[in-house]
């Protein structure tokens, strides 16, 4: 089937340049080219330097069990917008290894660590290849298909023990620990010594910048978190300090890890929808949007027009709610403890009321279906939204703007702090407000338009300095643009059905792969799914924006004070449900 579709010219160019090492992915439904492992750096360098694909969006892997193959999948984009380039590298399951791309694309750092952790694929040349999400004594690599979780029942849902002979019982009781845990076979908690922190501290000291030839002064490691109000959840920053200045910093995460992707591969396609709500729990509508879009791409269906308008409206309301909250909590990090945050939450409350009325839940919306939506929006709700965007929200934004933007404490603490340049931001694969605050006008709603964004009139907000203050300003600007978008949507929303066909609980998804992405409040939210034509996905990967934005955190923090690190983390705006997945 794929023989008839001509490859995009980028791939032809690559195959011409590297005839021996780049071949076509021949499987039906699959795009992209297969690259030999040892020539990956050369091909990537060509892509980056000659062809302008400077943005490495996602690195992930697919397990082809029972075949002896693991695929490593890379998605590259241009930071000026446009279609993707997808590279695949096949490695064997026994001793999987391939060259790391961290030298060319520093944004691959955390993602390669994640692939190593979950698949056991070694990236040669990665300077700090440690486990990232699982604990260091963990037995095996959980995303491999032959790895089974402690309460393993079957490969795929629905489980057979639920019907017609179901017995209400706690599966946890089957486990000797009476919980959903397991330990390596010869694990003895009394003898076991964790070397993970040691390894992390060593990597903190050994990386460049830390070893100066100058006068040796005492350097001190300070752990911020994991339980600390400034980390917005269970997240830890290990900072290497000289005096009070940060020399190096490592994010430590995984405390909230639940292996969302493994759960997703057990689930049927539709069952994943409510799980996506729990990724970035402040923006569940966006998460739904991205997942629905990706699977629809694979299924080859499109939602009706009214549904598209409602989707965009909900996604923009989510963006407003999320940005308002971020702004409030940035002040929290600056020391204006909770009063401004709670004032900022007021308008979010009204938006959540709308979500409750429309979707049935304030935060875990579960509102999108493949080819449409769960239910229509009543005229009453539309009237409420209009009232909100015409009166209340603009007033609130003006108020925030008036009181915060020129507040001298905010300016002193934020201006010139946590600077990341445009080149660095692209190299670190940062996305969303962070990238745009550095002056890169990269917004997927314009760069790679989806849904009806192409027909809407709004601006991509950018600032030049790339500091905390600019990231705050970009968020304020984006709220204004979102209000503008919602006004247009309300003016134009057509009558009609909200679902293409009938919503089915077993979606028929043809074999193939699909990478869909939306501009979430925190940046580029991507989903990579592989289908075998079965009721369950073979691979389900989430490119979580706040996880990848953390790659550049060390760069942003270097040279600033400890107190600034808190502010910088606040401006990066992480949501731990998404970071840890």
């Amino acid at each position: 089937m794929s023989d008839q579709i001509p490859l995009p010219p980028v791939y032809m160019q690559l195959m011409k340049k590297f005839p021996d090492s780049v071949t076509r992915d021949e499987r039906p439904g699959f795009a992209g080219v297969v690259v030999q492992a040892n020539s990956l750096p050369v091909v990537a360098a060509e892509l980056r330097d000659r062809m302008g694909f400077d943005y490495l969006s996602s690195v992930t892997a697919v397990d082809d069990f029972p075949e002896d193959m693991l695929e490593v999948v890379y998605h590259f984009f241009k930071s000026v917008g446009g279609p993707q380039v997808e590279l695949k590298v096949f490695v064997s399951r026994e001793e999987p290894g391939l060259p790391s791309l961290t030298d060319l694309y520093p944004g691959a750092e955390l993602q390669e660590r994640e692939v190593w952790d979950l698949f056991g694929i070694r990236f040669i040349g990665h300077h700090d290849l440690r486990r990232i999400l699982m604990w260091e004594g963990f037995d095996g690599h959980p995303l491999r298909k032959d790895w089974k979780e402690p309460l393993y029942e079957e490969d795929n849902k629905p489980f057979k023990t639920r019907w017609p002979e179901g017995k209400g019982e706690r599966k946890e009781l089957l486990n000797p620990y009476h919980d959903n845990v397991q330990y390596p076979r010869d694990f003895d908690p009394n003898k076991w010594e964790s070397l993970a922190d040691q390894a992390m501290y060593e990597s903190l000291r050994s990386s460049e910048g830390a070893d100066s030839e100058k006068l040796k002064t005492d350097q001190l490691v300070v752990n911020l978190g994991p339980q600390h109000p400034s980390t917005h959840g269970v997240f830890r920053m290990a900072a290497l300090l000289e005096g009070e200045t940060i020399v190096n910093l490592k994010p430590v995460m995984g405390y909230l890890h639940r292996n969302h992707e493994k759960i997703g591969e057990r689930n049927t396609w539709l069952q994943n929808m409510p799980y996506t709500d729990r990724l970035d729990y402040l923006a569940s509508m966006s998460n739904n949007f991205g997942y629905a879009l990706t699977v629809e791409k694979l299924m080859g269906i499109a939602p009706p027009e009214r549904a598209e308008y409602i989707r965009v409206m909900m996604a923009e309301l989510t963006r407003i709610a999320s940005h308002v909250m971020t702004t409030g909590f940035l002040l929290n990090d600056l020391g204006a403890y909770f009063t401004p945050a709670l004032y900022a939450l007021e308008e979010r409350e009204l938006i959540l009321d709308i979500f409750e009325e429309v979707a049935g839940s304030r935060m875990m919306c579960n509102y999108f279906r493949f080819g449409g939506l769960v239910r229509d929006v009543s005229p009453d709700v539309l009237r409420k939204i209009r009232h909100l965007v015409e009166n209340r929200l603009p007033r609130k934004i003006d108020e925030l703007d008036q009181y915060i933007t020129h507040n001298e404490i905010v300016r002193m603490r934020c201006e010139g702090v946590g600077v990341i340049t445009a080149e660095e931001a692209i190299a670190f694969s940062a996305s969303g407000p962070i990238l745009r605050a550095s002056g890169v006008p990269y917004d997927l709603r314009r760069a790679d338009p989806y849904s009806i964004y192409e027909s809407l009139d709004f601006e991509v907000c950018t600032r030049e300095h790339g500091d905390v203050y600019d990231r705050y300003l970009v968020r304020i600007d984006e709220i204004r643009q979102s209000i503008k978008i919602i006004r247009q949507v309300l003016d134009r929303i057509p009558e009609g059905p909200i679902m293409t066909g009938k919503s089915q609980y077993l979606a028929k998804v043809p074999a193939g792969e699909s990478y869909g992405r939306v501009e979430g409040p925190r940046g580029e939210l991507g989903y990579y799914v592989v289908s075998e034509g079965k009721p369950n996905p073979k691979r389900y990967h989430v490119r979580a924006p706040s996880f990848i934005n953390l790659t550049g955190l060390a760069q942003m923090c270097k040279g600033y004070k400890v107190a600034d690190a808190v502010t910088i983390l606040g401006s990066v705006d992480i949501v731990l449900g998404e970071v840890d997945r």
Partner: protein
Amino acid sequence: MNGLGILKGLWITLKHFFATYFTDLFYNRKKADADEKRGMVDSPGLFTVQYPEEVLQPNEEFRVIPFLVYETDEKGDKKYRCTSCGICAKVCPTQCIFITRSKDPETGRPVPYPAEYYIDADKCMNCGSCAEFCPFDAIKMDHDFEMATYERGNSHIYSMEQLGKPVEYYAKIRPVNYALEEAAKKEKANAG
């Protein structure tokens, strides 16, 4: 000028304080419900209500743990709408629904009625898929969110008796949906 920002910030707090005070004064005189008082689109003051003294009424679509709809016949027996087709157990993302199908005691053939029905409320994620895909309108999402218990052992696995609620209750909490479903049923009966 230094210090102006702080004064501006304090001014917001002061404004909120008086706005809340006067709104409450106004609505208390009218003896309005908590819903009308606070958290409205036009309310200038704070949004907080004094739960549990004041309780906001949830919207119609609001969903927590499902319940099984039953109808009461003349003798006062519960007649569940469920046919134990198992669709809810199949779509459930967390697989927290357990159904046992009834069997005819004489022939041993399956009967379209549940013998047992359990929902593990600890696992249920309130997504509403079961209610959405039930072809018999037999399972619906509840509004009762006050489910705290003193014991976490087995009391959170709800049995059929605990899950059952009369159809009148459903009509009360979701009047619009109930009316729509009844109209559709009537139309179907007329057509048939």
